[in-house]
């Protein structure tokens, strides 16, 4: 069973959670530290208080310490009733405060402080000797009381902080929200766009952290716009280019309709069929080109033996050549591999050979040569003909879509070259065009 992937938390939530958690931890650590500090400080203070009480008791003559007087002693502060004392002489309890237990507060006999348990309670006790050396004064205080004091002082300190904490959270939320606003605004700007709108996003007021994103997006928009424009141009060109053969077909068909002579009608119908063939070829080439355009630069195309494909393509075009008395010569000394997918290699070779035949006069020679790779030289293919060749200016314009050498009387679409060059470029192959030294016409060499 698939569990749906958890949606990633928003930046705002993440920041908010992180800052609040850290704030809370810091606050809690501060509280713990403060607790320890307060315990120490308050402990010292209370200890001093115990010692002072002991000192007062020591000054008091023993016989004056009867219980009535002790009970009448004025309360110095609200904690005082919790302070107890005992006077011991040789194991005998001489006197004690009313709130003191019967048993000794501590077993300690030497002067100083002790933590002890007596009568089931925890005590902090100060031990000292009386004016008579054999009298022991114990002044104690319940631990729980001391803790209460510490807690009370801590509470008074931490309570305002607890109030501030939600305010702090609110402030952080506000600050974080403000900081991610440029991102949110960018998202809205992109979302609100029409699909056709590809103008760059404004970089004004964009913080440096977001700027690379905006720049990258603008780059993408630019490339997309460029691609779109070239696609539109191509479609317009293609439509334009298809109109002429269609106009020809229509006109010839109407001539056939209106013909009164059999010969005239037959001629017009033959021309109509020829026009259909031409339009078909044009459409096929347009589709080939469109597919090539959609293809991204192929990485690691398989090696294909061009010699074998050359033989097949030449056989395909043999009837065309024979119809015009042209001769196709094959020069295939052995297998020659180029990094081209097989269907593309076929398209490439067919277009090259077809162009050579199409633009060469009747009875021309066309040579198709595939050179196997030798150490230091990649495999290459070469198509040359005995046709008129091309002027350097015309060679420069070859491969522009729909560029056609004029005055050839041929009904080419001007797309064959676009296809050849596109395939070569996609596969990193070099295309060289010049005059054939042996046949005198055009020579096209393609190699790795």
């Amino acid at each position: 069973m698939n569990t749906p992937p958890r949606a990633p938390r928003s930046l705002q939530t993440r920041l908010l959670l992180a800052v609040l958690t850290l704030g809370l931890v810091a606050w809690a650590s501060a509280a713990v530290l403060a607790w320890h500090e307060a315990q120490d400080e308050v402990g010292d203070l209370l200890d001093a208080h115990l010692a002072q009480t002991a000192a007062l008791l020591r000054l008091q003559p023993l016989d004056e310490l009867d219980e009535d007087k002790l009970n009448e002693a004025p309360e110095l502060d609200k904690h005082q009733p919790r302070v107890v004392f005992q006077l011991w002489h040789e194991g005998q309890l001489l006197a004690r405060s009313a709130n003191a237990p019967q048993e000794p507060l501590t077993e300690r006999r030497k002067r100083g402080f002790a933590d002890s348990v007596a009568a089931g309670k925890a005590w902090r006790v100060f031990v000292t000797q009386g004016r008579e050396k054999d009298v022991l004064i114990l002044v104690g205080e319940r631990q729980s009381v001391r803790d209460e004091i510490v807690l009370a002082s801590l509470t008074s300190m931490l309570k305002p902080m607890a109030w501030v904490l939600p305010l702090l959270a609110l402030g952080i939320w506000w600050a974080v929200r403000g900081s991610v606003r440029p991102l949110r605004r960018l998202g809205q700007a992109v979302a609100a766009r029409q699909p056709q709108s590809l103008e760059p996003l404004s970089t004004a007021g964009v913080p440096p952290e977001v700027l690379p994103l905006v720049t990258a997006l603008n780059g993408l928009f630019e490339r997309t716009a460029h691609l779109l424009a070239s696609e539109q141009q191509f479609t317009a060109d293609a439509a334009h280019e298809l109109r002429t053969p269609i106009a020809g077909i229509r006109m010839q068909a109407q001539v056939a309709q209106g013909a009164t002579q059999h010969a005239e009608r037959a001629q017009a119908l033959a021309a109509t069929v020829q026009g259909c063939d031409r339009a078909t070829r044009l459409v096929e080439q347009l589709l080939q080109l469109a597919r090539l355009d959609a293809e991204t630069a192929s990485t690691g195309a398989p090696q294909t033996d061009l010699a074998e494909i050359a033989r097949a393509v030449a056989a395909d075009l043999q009837p065309t050549a024979a119809a015009r008395g042209q001769r196709v010569e094959l020069d295939l000394p052995g297998p020659a591999a180029l990094p081209l997918a097989e269907p593309l290699a076929r398209v490439l070779l067919r277009n090259l050979l077809d162009n050579a035949l199409r633009y060469s006069p009747e009875g021309a020679r066309v040579r198709l040569q595939v050179t196997p790779a030798t150490p230091g030289n990649a495999a290459a293919l070469c198509v040359e003909d005995s046709g008129p060749g091309l002027e350097p200016a015309e060679i420069a314009r070859l491969g522009e879509r729909f560029f056609r050498v004029l005055g050839t009387g041929q009904s080419g679409s001007g797309l064959g070259w676009s296809i050849v060059q596109r395939i070569a470029r996609l596969h990193g192959l070099q295309v060289q065009i010049d005059r054939s030294p042996t046949l005198g016409g055009l020579r096209v060499r393609i190699g790795g």
């Binding site: 053969p245 109407q254 013909a259």
Partner: protein, 221 residues
Amino acid sequence: MRILLAEDDELLGSGLRAGLAQHGFQVDWVRDGVAAERELATGAYQAAVLDLGLPRQDGMDVLQHARARRIATPVLVLTARDAVPARIAGLDAGADDYLVKPVDLHELAARLRALVRRAHGQSETRLTAGNVVLDPAAHQVLREGQPVELSNREYDLLHALLLNAGRVLSREQLEQRLYQWGSEINSNAVEVHIYHLRRKLGSALIETVRGVGYRITRDTA
């Protein structure tokens, strides 16, 4: 009617030539812009069909050059560019009409007839002189309401004279209008056709202006 056709596409060009011939036009076909400009300059054509995408010289340039040289031959521009700005540019450059490929043969022929008629200041589609009526759309001539059989040459000759009613056309002008390239012209061909026309339509219709040429009097009725 003699028409100049400038079109570089073999298929469309041959179709246009054959189709317009079926509609009674004499068509001279050139395949590039330089030839088109040269032929247009002769002034021998009643109208021209001009493709814009011509080799050697763009059709638009041909048109502009011709208009700059005050050649008034009506020009119908034929093109694959159908965007409105392209049409506007074509008409502004001096085109009299504009058709986007693919075109209908009958529409093209009708538009050419209309162009020729307008170029001669005629608003009536049918040309009349006395009791003779010529209907270019039907390629028909009536005398007192009855159809008269005319050869193509006779028809073209009558058409030319009627279009230019009231004006004298020389024998050379008429020859130029009647014959496309490669036709053999006898030195007295025009006289022979005139003779036949007079026989079929009455001798009063076509007036001989001695030493100058022929004329049909403008119909004042």
